[in-house]
């Protein structure tokens, strides 16, 4: 199964051909058995049939795959009165608005830490990284505490006489869900932005100022174009997990009026007999996300290579 590739010159002199492949073997077997095979199972279930109890039965032979379930799900999404359509549209709107808000907040923060933090830089970086070590569920739970009808947010607002009655923040408000997504995923945006902005040579900005550009102009003409890659990377890294998110919605809203693709998938998988629908939805989500995922893989591989220099 394992084949040694050609040897670059000056290398491989001392090693038997099987030497390095044997190191990779356990990991390769693991990925094949628990990453590739599961995807095949998803296909087999999505294109499978049902037994007399309505339980999905996977079909293992691709030649016999039954496209009925898949077509039905597509109809429910894209059909004129498909009831899954709104969830898909909503997902794109929420993720779009949340990613944009993330960018608007993250960019100035990353810019400040990269350029002006001075001696506080270490401390600021630790604080920016801290959310990664706090469980996502706990961070959302913290907001559930704050946003309850007798929570601190309502108490503060009513003591300031901004509201007269407690607002039901957790009762299916899109704004709560979007703010939850921003709060949850903004750290993923800040780090790539920081890395990108930190890499910009300050001499370039100095040159632009020396040549007479104003602050705003040198930001627009120098900093912004140089950070384009970082912005794109940040948007991809922050929005990918948002597409697969269902727990933010469950914790901060719980209403079907705000449900997203993730909720539809999670509900289908959690219900007896609806596995096939869940599997079909997972495949559709994969198709939607394949381009950003490939972009992310490429930039991760590139980042690993660039750290050498």
């Amino acid at each position: 199964m394992i084949r040694a590739g050609r040897r670059p010159e000056g290398e491989g002199v001392w090693y038997p051909r099987w030497f390095w492949p044997s190191f990779a073997a356990p990991g390769v077997v693991w990925l094949v058995v628990l990453f590739l095979v599961p995807f095949y199972v998803v296909f087999a279930v999505a294109f499978g049939t049902f037994d007399f109890l309505g339980q999905p039965v996977p079909i293992w032979n691709p030649a016999q795959w039954y496209p009925g379930t898949f077509q039905r799900v597509l109809g429910q999404i894209f059909g004129s009165n498909g009831f899954l359509g709104p969830s898909f549209v909503r997902t794109f709107v929420y993720v779009g608005v949340a990613s944009l808000l993330c960018l608007l907040i993250a960019y100035p923060v990353a810019y400040y830490v990269a350029r002006y933090a001075g001696p506080r830089r270490g401390l600021l970086l630790v604080l920016l990284i801290a959310p990664f070590w706090i469980s996502y569920i706990m961070r959302m739970f913290a907001w559930v505490n704050l946003l309850q009808s007798d929570g601190l947010v309502n108490k503060t607002l009513s003591s300031l006489h901004i509201i007269s009655q407690p607002v039901n923040w957790l009762g299916g408000k899109p704004i709560t869900v979007i703010l939850g997504l921003v709060y949850g995923y903004i750290p993923y945006m800040i780090l790539p932005l920081f890395a990108g902005l930190d890499r910009i040579d300050p001499n370039l900005l100095e040159a632009s100022r020396d040549l007479g550009a104003s602050r705003a102009r040198s930001f627009i003409r120098v900093t912004l174009p140089l950070s384009k890659q970082a912005i794109l990377a940040g948007l991809v890294i922050a929005s990918l997990p948002m597409f697969g998110d269902y727990f933010t919605n469950d914790l901060l809203s719980g209403a079907t009026s705000t449900s997203m693709i993730g909720n539809v998938i999670n509900d289908a998988v959690g219900t007896a007999g609806r596995d096939a629908i869940g599997a079909a939805l997972v495949l559709i989500l994969m198709v939607i996300l394949i381009i950003p995922m490939l972009y992310y893989v490429r930039s991760t591989a590139r980042a690993a290579r660039e750290r050498v220099v």
């Binding site: 492949p21 190191f23 002006y116 961070r139 780090l191 100022r209 997972v282």
Partner: protein
């Protein structure tokens, strides 16, 4: 470093000096970025205060999670029924979390390290394809991986059963990419000179590996173990799909289940413990890592290594 260009009040720029005799504050090229600074601190407050408040109320001497009734440890161990210590449900969850984190780290890290070394040295298209597959598992939303694992356990590998075994296998699949990415980055920085020197001096490939390469990789291996452990503590999606019943639900799942239905500050206490575990883990990890790489005196790089691959 980068701020030298900006904060050098003594050196007058000729352009600014000539053009506007006396500098008005908004034309001063060296003014402090106060707006940006306050924005950044506001952001940090927003990002950390909610969690700090949740931690604070875990010490509340009352059932409320919004009005302070004095300090107590009742939700940790004093309450005979509802505290984390006495509620069997909650402390099962605590031990389940630690069990999953320990087992996953023990298996994922060795496999990942070996994979990284193998893939790095083995040339050709096949290893590139496996590396691509590994990176794909790293970027894929956890929901997709969780559902595929659930379907494979319930349809094909039915002998596995849901519960701890399935959870550990699933977590390893999801976590294996951390050691691979971190160790590969280290291998790329190191180059192959040390090993080749060792073998020129008469070491066999196995000796060069054991006595030269592995010791050089220890910091990276250690860092990835810390990362995996801390990340499993926080994991939610995979462990929830692959749990069998209440006895195999770890802390994150308990918090998710209880957050909207039966909230007492005991849940805050559980969340605080979860936070403490991962923060202590990362802190110890960081200090040990810094000690290990002392010779390389690259503190910033150490922090960066730990942080970069999240």
């Amino acid at each position: 470093m980068s701020e030298t260009a900006v904060q050098a009040p003594e050196t007058q720029s000729p352009i600014a000096g000539n053009a506007v005799g006396r500098l008005r504050p908004w034309r001063d090229p060296w003014r402090k970025p106060r707006v940006l600074a306050s924005f950044t601190w506001l952001y940090l407050a927003w990002s950390i205060l909610p969690v700090a408040i949740a931690v604070l109320f875990s010490f509340n001497n009352g059932r409320s999670r919004s009005s302070w009734q004095g300090f107590s440890l009742r939700w940790y161990y004093q309450d005979p029924v509802l505290s984390v210590w006495h509620d069997p449900d909650l402390h099962t969850a605590l031990f389940q979390t630690l069990r999953l984190a320990g087992l996953t780290t023990l298996i994922a890290v060795p496999i990942g390290v070996a994979f990284a070394i193998g893939i790095d040295r083995w040339r050709g298209r096949l290893p590139a394809a496996f590396n691509f597959q590994m990176l794909l598992s790293f970027v894929m939303p956890e929901l997709i991986i969780g559902v595929t694992l659930l379907l494979v356990v319930s349809n094909l590998f039915t002998f596995l059963h849901l519960g701890t075994t399935a959870q550990v296998l699933g977590l390893i699949t999801f976590q294996i990419s951390y050691p691979v990415i971190i160790v590969r980055a280290r291998l790329l920085t190191m180059g192959r000179d040390y090993e080749e020197a060792a073998m020129d001096l008469g070491a066999s490939p196995t000796q060069a590996l054991r006595r030269v390469l592995l010791p050089l990789l220890y910091p990276a291996i250690f860092a990835s173990a810390v990362l995996v452990f801390a990340d499993v503590i926080d994991d939610f999606v995979i462990v929830r799909y692959l749990s069998s019943d209440a006895s195999t639900e770890p802390m994150a799942v308990k918090i998710f289940n209880g957050a909207r239905s039966s909230p007492t500050p005991a849940l805050n206490a559980l969340a605080t413990l979860m936070l403490a575990f991962s923060l202590v883990m990362v802190l110890i990890g960081f200090l040990v890592y810094r000690r290990m790489t002392r010779g390389e005196r690259r503190q910033k790089a150490a922090l960066g290594d730990l942080a970069a691959q999240i």
